[in-house]
């Protein structure tokens, strides 16, 4: 198992390396640059060249990359090109705001939004998925599946807009935009994220539980007269947990994109808003930092899920040990 973990860790590190490289190359090959973004229509070639030189953007890309990766490994993502007194290289003495300082607040806000959403998603998906699986074919099961499909078919921005109309205009009990992180401000963004995601997670949990319910050990447990609640808690959920965790790993990946859209829609001060602002200003260090954080979230979540599956699924454990 140790070798498996080592292999899996190496794979995660390789993925992180590939991700950072892709992010760096992708961001640096975006059309436009910070100089033209700030200068606007007064971006003469001379002015652009002057600012690019001040920002070090005239160096060979490999040199910029090695410089960036060396610092990124130490969690130093550099300084903003567009924010702070020294931004745009106007002052040799002062640099732009440190990226870590700039994105720290946004990350915290997004972490709050994502965590609350994920916890709710897990609770709702497990409850409805298990209930649906246990009562498959019933009206309640059909209802859960119908609404699951309904929400699954709606993009975040459409569902979010409908939720705003419902709860901010027709029944004005919640704010239409969320400028601060307060429980009240979190309700509608969280609701949007959970509803969009639960369409797939509830269905996958349901399928996973149904598969377990068909196994011989569950049938045997029933024949032995073990109470249904105990069967669910003792046999079904532990054995369904691995595929269910896979479902939430997928959900984590989808969350990364969903959070950006939902934050933008609600004006929530998280990485979604920050990412869009930084990208529009071609603030490379900030965009790179956001992209790395988002990508790492996905990779780390997947790694964690593999670990959980390994610990909870004897079959996988046996396979890993062999």
């Amino acid at each position: 198992m140790g070798r498996y973990l080592l292999r899996r860790s190496a794979l995660a590190i390789a993925s992180l390396f590939a991700l950072t490289t892709l992010v760096f190359v992708g961001v640096n090959f975006l059309p436009g640059d910070p100089a033209t973004a700030v200068l606007g229509k007064s971006a003469t070639p001379e002015k652009v060249a002057s600012i690019q030189k001040a920002l070090g953007l005239n160096k060979p890309i490999w040199e910029m990359y090695t410089n960036w990766i060396t610092h990124a490994l130490q969690l130093d993502f550099g300084h903003s090109l567009t924010y702070g007194t020294g931004a745009y290289g106007y002052s040799d003495a002062v640099q732009g705001t440190a990226v870590s300082e700039l994105i720290g607040g946004s990350l915290k806000n997004t972490a709050i939004l994502a965590s609350v959403s994920m916890i709710l998603l897990i609770i709702v998906s497990l409850s409805l998925g298990v209930y649906s699986a246990m009562h498959r074919g019933s009206i309640a099961d059909s209802g859960v599946q119908f609404f699951g499909l309904f929400f699954l078919g709606l993009p975040e921005f459409v569902l979010g807009a409908l939720i705003i109309i419902a709860f901010a205009f027709y029944w004005p009990i919640l704010p239409a935009i969320s400028l601060d992180v307060t429980p009240k401000n979190l309700v509608l963004p969280v609701l949007t994220l959970v509803l969009v995601m639960m369409g797939s997670t509830v269905r996958l949990v349901r399928v996973g539980v149904i598969e377990v319910l068909k196994t011989n050990y569950v049938v045997t447990a029933r024949l032995r007269g073990i109470p249904e609640r105990r069967i669910i808690m003792r046999y079904v959920i532990p054995n369904a947990i691995a595929p269910v965790m896979q479902v939430f790993a997928i959900a984590t990946g989808l969350f990364v994109g969903g959070v950006v859209v939902v934050e933008y829609l609600f004006g929530y001060p998280g990485i979604g808003t920050g990412f869009v602002s930084a990208a529009s200003g071609r603030d490379y260090p900030v965009v790179q930092a956001y992209a790395v954080v988002l990508g790492c979230t996905y990779i780390v979540a997947n790694f964690a899920v593999d670990l959980i599956a390994l610990l909870t699924n004897p079959k996988m454990r046996a396979k890993a040990t062999s």
Partner: protein, 543 residues
Amino acid sequence: MKGTTDMDSQQGNFIENIKEGSLSRRQILKTAGALGIVGATGSFFDSASAATVSPEGYLATIKPRRGGNMTIGIGFGVGASNDPHVSPAGDQNVIRNFNVFNLLFWNDKTGALKPALATSATANSDATLWTIELRSGVTWHDGSAFTADDVVYSLKRIVDPATNALGASTLAMVDAANIRKIDNLTLEVPMKFPFSVLPDQLATKGMSIVKDGAMTFDPPIGTGAFKLVSGDKNRIILERNNNFWVSGMPYLDMVTIVNVMDATARINGVRTGILDTIYPVDAVGAASVAKDPKVITFVNKTRTYLPLYMNAAVKPFADVRARQAMKLATDRESMNRVSYAGQGYIGNDMFGILDSGYPTDIKQTSYDPEKAKALWKAAGNSNVKIELWTADEWPAQQSSATVWAQQAKKAGINVTLKTSPADQFDSKVYGVKPFSQDYWNYRSILTMWQEAFNPDSEYFKVQNWGPEKTQKLYKQAVGTGDPKLRDEITKEMLTIFHNEGPYIVWGFQASPDIYTSRIAGQENSSVRGLNGFHLETFFIKPL
């Protein structure tokens, strides 16, 4: 000024005019749908909004009072720096600079040049040396006195290439090395060549006066109506400067500017009272809230314009007949209806419309596709294909280009509309493609000329137009101290510009604002919405 009077008569209720205009329900709904505007039901066509106010605003009827906080939602533009000489043009930066710092002169809401930190500026007989008198009793936010040292330092700093100031070219005529203080409230500014309109240059937005020796601006120390309390990438908080040099102002205790990137979210914020106002708002956005009794719609009749430019160094635009044909192929009324809901002013291929040197007696160019076709053919362009490049960077940019392309086809001009991503327009299209669009806030005739139509102008290469005769006239105009003579010369310059120039100035922008009904103090700004970004006149209405 007959032209101005005609234009003033167009002022009125924005939504009422949408009702009367020919902007079709389908067009608005289609656009609203495409933009995903929540609550855009289209019902504003059926009745006027009781919440819509005339451009005269509230000042005439409600006594301003002190106190309160106003929250403004805007999509924060590129970056931020508290240094007013280098901060980029994102709206949040301009608002902060305008309210924390002051200029020596400024264009007020009517476009008139008014003293701010200066009280007067006098040129010598050949306009090679200016003496500027400064306002007494002005203090910086840190309590120290404002003096000529601050102005000398600021002007030298703007011109110094090491500063990389965005407004450096605006003061290209200033002999910065020899600017000198005469006494605490007087300074002399020598020119490199005779230049009689220096105050106009000093009224442009890059000319903020900073404190002597200021290098870092965290926090920025200004003389403006508000002090910066804090600012980050999502929120800027300003508080009232109790020692502001305009007595009694500002009225608000505090202004909070928050970053809301999505236009629909901004509108929802006003409708639900979380935001007091937002910027910018387009015609469709304003229309979507027209029936909301909690929201006030207010239209600024600005002199901002979005001309179609033609590069006169490139075929087919090198031929004056081609340029004239393009102007005659422009149905200005239609463009105004579609892009500004009929609320903008019609343009006559000239700028500086509030300047006393603007020629009002030139016949309005009207849509004449047959004459345009004949001229286009005479210029040998019957089989020529041209491209009009646009983007969704500026309000009404795409809609006006789309309408123009449709109109021009009727005049036999084979034009293809090309759309660039907005973030690549400035670098890949503007000044690169021979036929595209430009965007200018109001400025006086000679200031505008200095920026674009002299061979050494910063934006000359965009249209490459500036014949010797106008170059000579420009030198005469800036070299005379006689305002009447200067006006005569600028009239002659603009007449040439009208007949031969590279701009199709089809209209001037109507810029709607929306406010929650508790906000008062709105003033029609000739420059831009939101009181031209001067927040000192806003106040909270008494209950």
